[in-house]
Subunit: 192 residues, 2 copies
Amino acid sequence: MGLRERKKARTRAAIRTEAMRLFRERGYAATTIEQIAAAADISPATFFRYYPTKEDVVLQDDLDVLLPEAVEAQPPSLGPIAAVRAAVSQALGPMDPAELERLQETIALSASAPEIRARAADEFTRTIEVMAVPLARRAGRSPDDPAVRHVAGAMIGVIWAATMVPPFTGDAAGLVDRIDAALAHLEQGLAL
Amino acid sequence: MGLRERKKARTRAAIRTEAMRLFRERGYAATTIEQIAAAADISPATFFRYYPTKEDVVLQDDLDVLLPEAVEAQPPSLGPIAAVRAAVSQALGPMDPAELERLQETIALSASAPEIRARAADEFTRTIEVMAVPLARRAGRSPDDPAVRHVAGAMIGVIWAATMVPPFTGDAAGLVDRIDAALAHLEQGLAL
DNA sequence: TTTAAAAATGATAGTAACTATCGATAGATG
DNA sequence: CATCTATCGATAGTTACTATCATTTTTAAA
């Protein structure tokens, strides 16, 4: 990795770190790009070369890539929900504390900043389309099959319900367990 | 209803009509508030007295109020999913063509304008909280009960999956049926 | 009908998130 | 060392949105 790329990575990290600190200190809406740029020692224009929007500093999940891959890797004997359960545990389980911390902050910010919550919700719904692909393959169906989409939708729905729990004090530690319990509940027919 | 209120209603309708027409003709992002104001014969400042944001011209659903009421009105013998099925059919079934048309356009716009889709997704996830209340009461549980939230989340998830079907050509006529079929599928255990 | 209160509007000025462009600079490459 | 290229900063511009205040329009009371 050359000097150029190293510098880029450092700048990117600096922007995110400083932005998050400012968001924490004075709130998301009250923090301007100009302030973030000043704190990260770059020009405001440079900010947008690293992050397309202010929201993207907070929201950048690799979930859209990791999750379908992990589902694809599960043994075919598992049903769709069991496969996703295993995939989630496998993808989120070995998450380092820094990542967990970050996830927690994203959730907390979602409570205070509507734009972030909206963007997060949008990316989550997009996961329906993404997850439909491996699920369809496992079931020998088309990703456009309504039944496949329903299964993906229901899983995304319970995951969201288990993640975004008001008042968003969000102990990130219990998050993976809460999601697993939610999927288990769905798998067993959502008895009340 | 006095003259003042009548005028306000007319202005509000004019803004929405003209805005939708412009969105249709040249796209959501390419339409400015200034253009909408000019078309509706008001000042740009007045626009914001009627709609807090540009997005709100498109998104204003009464679903958050209607749905829980309709759920509450179902006979206690029905299970949670059956109750929501009945409530949805009851709330969305007798929708006049104009409303359906509007819903269809909102869905179509969600495909083209990310901000609208994000806002719509956000309001949808909020419906989880809203629906948890009548569901909890019916089951004699707390709205904070994870199990209740899971059921609400799963239903919202399948409804979204049945509504937001790419490429959003969206025949609004079949929408209610698609939602009902999705909830039925969920009720019967999401077999694939 | 006249008048006073209240509400709605328009005009103006300002902020902040972007976008586009372009010259300067710093790093990679031969 | 020289050249090429990626990155950066500066600048100017657009647009959504906020705040304020004077003006007009509607309502209600005298």
